[in-house]
Symmetry: C2
Subunit: 196 residues, 2 copies
């Protein structure tokens, strides 16, 4: 692991544990086994460090969402079936990644709304998100989802998944239960899809 990576890894853990302001850069460099000067060689400021970290973690999550396919919980056919399967794969991969990377998720949850994350960082993430966004767009255009602004729908679904992740993170064994998975996904899906 390069010194740069050591610094990011140490920062992740310390930031979750103590928050941004209560984590001196000296503590980060110490935990990373690196000198202060080295830290500021790689990151001009402490804020640049947390932004780089946030971007990396978020992109790692996004990449995971896109590449893997996931087991289907519901095989009923119909014109919507394909879209539902794809979105379900996103949903499943998200929770799966969170359970395998709890610290990373805690970091994202804790700092996602914080003021330390610059707009430029958020824009970069927005771009990377465009792919998944298209799926939801499709659902609205096909008249399958509630006819509401895309932004709103995305926020509603994201918060549903976040809340589910938080829950399964505390109750890990529940994620083994296919029946619970099914119900939570049903709740998720029906928040999106018009009642027939």
């Amino acid at each position: 692991m390069s010194k740069r990576e050591q610094i990011l890894a140490a920062a992740l853990n310390l930031f979750i544990e103590n928050g941004f302001e209560k984590t001196p850069t000296s503590a980060i460099s110490k935990a990373a086994g690196v000198a202060t000067g080295t830290l500021f060689h790689h990151f001009k400021t402490k804020e640049e460090l947390i932004n780089a970290l946030y971007l990396e973690v978020k992109l790692a999550l996004l990449e995971n969402l896109a590449t893997k396919t996931a087991p289907s919980l519901d095989l009923k056919g119909g014109t919507e079936a394909n879209l539902k399967i794809q979105i379900q794969a996103l949903w499943f991969n998200m929770i799966d990644w969170v359970l395998q990377n709890p610290q990373e998720f805690r970091f994202l949850a804790q700092f996602g709304e914080s003021a330390y994350i610059a707009n430029s960082t958020r824009e970069k993430i927005e771009e990377a998100f465009a792919g998944s966004k298209a799926l939801f767009c499709q659902g609205v255009e096909e008249g399958l989802f509630y006819d509401l602004p895309l932004d709103l729908l995305l926020n509603l679904t994201t918060s549903h998944i976040f809340a589910s992740c938080n829950y399964f993170l505390l109750q890990t064994e529940q994620w083994q239960d296919r029946d619970i998975q099914r119900k939570v996904f049903a709740s998720f899906w029906s928040l999106l899809a018009k009642v027939k």
Copy 2:
């Protein structure tokens, strides 16, 4: 307004604007038109101040949820009608309060997950919440809602409302549109209620 209240009001605005750590107590006392000594006379530490503030704001919100009744968007009868109307009133009052108290909501959103809020504060809020919680408990017991742990259901619904509030806060005029209200509430309700 007492000096104590002046301090709380000033702190609210500064905390939203700059965050907790980037708001020196000196700035708070200055904005409140009060001396440093006075601030620390009313609140032993800066953390005690933010906890007091958080508690007050949250209780103000809860009180508002409980007391007012709200227009019904959906008058169909049935055994569930009463519960649905009550929950809809909570839902409506929440968004209504947020739109009338945007700064307070931003404060809650920003610091709700932060480490500055002590467990003792959270416990006090938990108690005050018991009333609303009972409504949801009823829905589960009657088999009306998804058969999932109450904690999970509460988190799912809370995040849905929070996301809605965030949206309407940016797009205030949309809240005037009864049709949108109806759709967002339909999405909210169907996240909870089993499909028939």
